[in-house]
Amino acid sequence: MTTELAPVHVARLDLRERRRSLIFYPLGLAVYAMVIVALYPAFKDDSGLASLSEDNSTLMALFGASGSLTSPVGWVNANLYTNFVPLIILLVTIGYGASALAGQNENGILGLVATLPVSRTQLVVAKITAMAALAVPVSVTTMICVLIGRSFDLPIGLGPLLGVTVAIVLLGLVFGALALAVGAATGSRGTALGVTAALATLCYLISSLAPAISWIHQIRYVSPFWWATGAGQLGTGVGLGDIAALVGTTAVLVALAIAAARHMDIS
C-alpha cells in the first residue's frame, strides 16, 4: 500500500469541509474589487481626494494608503493591496491555521486523522497545502479584477501585479503557518488566533505607518507586510529579496509547526 499521496487526501478533507470559504471569500472579494475598479474613473481627477491624501499622510498611512490616492497604483494599493486583500487572506489563513491542528484537536477530529497512516510531518504538509489552496483563489480573483481594471483607465503593470499576487499569498502563509505552529505548540485554537492576530496587527501597523513616522520607518523590515505590498511593490515590482524573506519566514514557521506537531498531545 502506498501512502505518498496521504497528505493530499488529508488536505482534500479539510478543503471539502471548508468549501464555502473556498467559494465565498473569493466571490465576495471579487465583488468588492470590481466596485473599487469601476469607481476609479470617477475619482481619478478628484483634486479634493488628492489633497486629502497629501495633507494627512499619517492618518492615511494608518489606513494603508501612502502617496497619491488618485494615481492608478495609489488607488489600487489604498483600496485593495495594502489593507483589504491582506485582511481577507489573513482571515482565511489564520483562521484555518488555528483550527487545522489545535481546533481539530479540541473538537476531536484530529485523533481520527492522526491515526491514519500519515506522519505528523505529512499532516503539517497537508495543512499548509490546504492553506495555500484556500489563499490562492482570493489573491488570483483580485488580480483578475485588477486586470479587468485596464478597461477602466486603471493601468497596473502586469509584472508587479503578478508579483504582488504571489507575495500576498505568501504573506497569508507566513501568518497562517504561525497560527498553525502556535496551535500545535499550545493545543489551543484561541491562543493561536489571539497571538497571531495580535502579531499580524502589529506588523500591519509597522508597515503602514512606516512612510509617515520616522522611527517606525527604521524598523519597517521586520514586517512581512512591508515585504509583500508595504514598500509600494505594486508600482515598483516585488523584489527577489521580498520573495526570499516571505518564503524563508514561511519555511522556518512550517519547520517550527512540524516540530511542535511531533510533540503535540492529540486527544
Binding site: 501512502t3 478533507l13 471539502r16 476531536g108 481520527l112 491514519l116 497512516p117 500519515v118 486527544s267
Partner: protein, 299 residues
C-alpha cells in the same frame, strides 16, 4: 501466541494529575482484551499512548511490534481506531470521509466496506453534522474496520447503538478476532465487555487494579451468603473470620461476602441455630463494582 501490545510501567501526567500511573499489561495476538474502568480512570489516555497520539512520561509501549511514536505510520497502517467521543467533519458526508480515509490508506478494494455499510445500515449521503449519535457511531465502525486492521482499538464502541446493533457489533468483533485481529476493547460497562472478551484489565485512578480472565475473576469474586437464625445473633463472630466482610446484619439475619475459604464460615454457623442459608451464584457485577470503588487497593 505472541504479543500484540506490551505496555510496561506506562505513566503519563497532565499537570499535577496522574492520568496513567505505572500501567503494565500484555495483549496477545488474536485476543479480545477488555479494558474496564469508570469514566476518568485513564482508559482513553492509555489508548492514546498505545496509538502514539501522546508520549508517555515514563515507561514503554509496543503495539504490533512498533514503537507508536517513531513507527506511527507503519503501526497506523494496521490499526482501526474508534474513539470514545467520536467527532467528524460536520459538513462532509460519510461517503466523502470514507473515500478520503481509504485514499490515505491506499485502500482500493471496497467490498468489505460496502458489506459493513450494509450490515450496520450506515447513512453515507447526509452531512455527518446532521446525523444522530448512533449513525455517527456506525460510520466510525465502518471507518475502523473497513481495511481489516490487525489491531482494533475501540473506545466505548457501542455507545449510542441499539441492542440489536450492539449484538451485530459483538459478532463483528468476534469474527475479526477469529480472522486473527487483536481487539483492545475499552469500556466502562461490564455488560459490553464480559460477553466478548477472554481477558480483561480493570483500571481505576490511573492504575491497573486487576488483570485476569473472566473465569479467573469469577473465581476471585466474593461469594454472598445470607444466614437466617431463629434467635438474635451477634455478627461479630462472623466478621472476625479471615476473608469475610459483613454486608448486612439485623437480629435474625446476617449477610456476608466471603473471599477466603468457606469452611470456617460454615463451622461458625454450626455453633448458632441457622434456620436458612442462601448462597446465590457469583455476581460479576458486584465484583466489578468493588474494583471501581476503593475495596481493592493495589490488588
Amino acid at each position: 501466541m505472541t504479543a500484540a501490545i506490551v505496555a510496561e510501567g506506562l505513566t503519563r501526567s497532565f499537570g499535577a494529575h496522574r492520568a496513567v500511573d505505572d500501567v503494565s499489561f500484555t495483549v496477545e495476538v488474536g485476543e479480545i482484551f477488555g479494558f474496564l474502568g469508570p469514566n476518568g480512570a485513564g482508559k482513553s489516555t492509555t489508548i492514546r499512548l498505545l496509538l502514539g497520539l501522546m508520549r508517555p512520561d515514563t515507561g514503554s509501549i509496543t503495539s504490533l511490534g512498533c514503537d507508536p511514536i517513531t513507527d506511527s505510520v507503519a503501526l497506523h497502517r494496521h490499526v482501526g481506531y474508534l474513539p470514545g467521543e467520536l467527532a467528524w467533519f460536520a459538513n462532509l458526508t460519510g461517503r466523502v470521509i470514507l473515500e478520503r480515509f481509504a485514499g490515505v490508506r491506499g485502500l482500493q478494494e471496497t467490498t468489505y466496506r460496502d458489506e459493513l455499510v450494509e450490515r450496520f445500515d450506515a447513512e453515507l449521503d447526509r452531512p455527518v453534522g446532521q446525523l444522530s449519535k448512533g449513525n455517527r457511531q456506525k460510520l466510525g465502525i465502518v471507518a475502523a474496520f473497513m481495511h481489516r486492521p490487525r489491531l482494533l482499538v475501540l473506545d466505548e464502541p457501542t455507545s449510542g447503538l441499539d441492542p440489536l446493533l450492539q449484538d451485530s457489533f459483538a459478532r463483528l468483533m468476534r469474527e475479526s478476532a477469529d480472522a486473527g485481529a487483536t481487539v483492545f476493547l475499552s469500556s466502562h460497562e461490564l455488560d459490553e465487555v464480559q460477553r466478548v472478551v477472554e481477558r480483561l484489565a480493570i483500571i481505576r485512578d490511573g492504575r491497573i487494579v486487576v488483570t485476569d480472565t473472566i473465569d479467573g475473576l469469577r473465581r476471585r469474586a466474593p461469594r454472598r451468603i445470607t444466614l437466617v437464625f431463629d434467635r438474635p445473633t451477634d455478627p461479630a463472630a462472623f466478621a472476625a473470620l479471615e476473608g469475610v466482610t459483613l454486608t448486612h446484619a439485623d437480629d435474625h439475619e446476617i449477610a456476608l461476602a466471603v473471599t477466603g475459604p468457606m469452611a470456617p464460615v460454615l463451622q461458625c454457623a454450626a455453633h448458632h441455630d441457622v434456620v436458612d442459608l442462601t448462597a446465590p451464584p457469583t455476581d460479576l457485577d458486584t465484583l466489578f463494582l468493588s474494583y471501581y470503588r476503593d475495596d481493592h487497593d493495589d490488588d
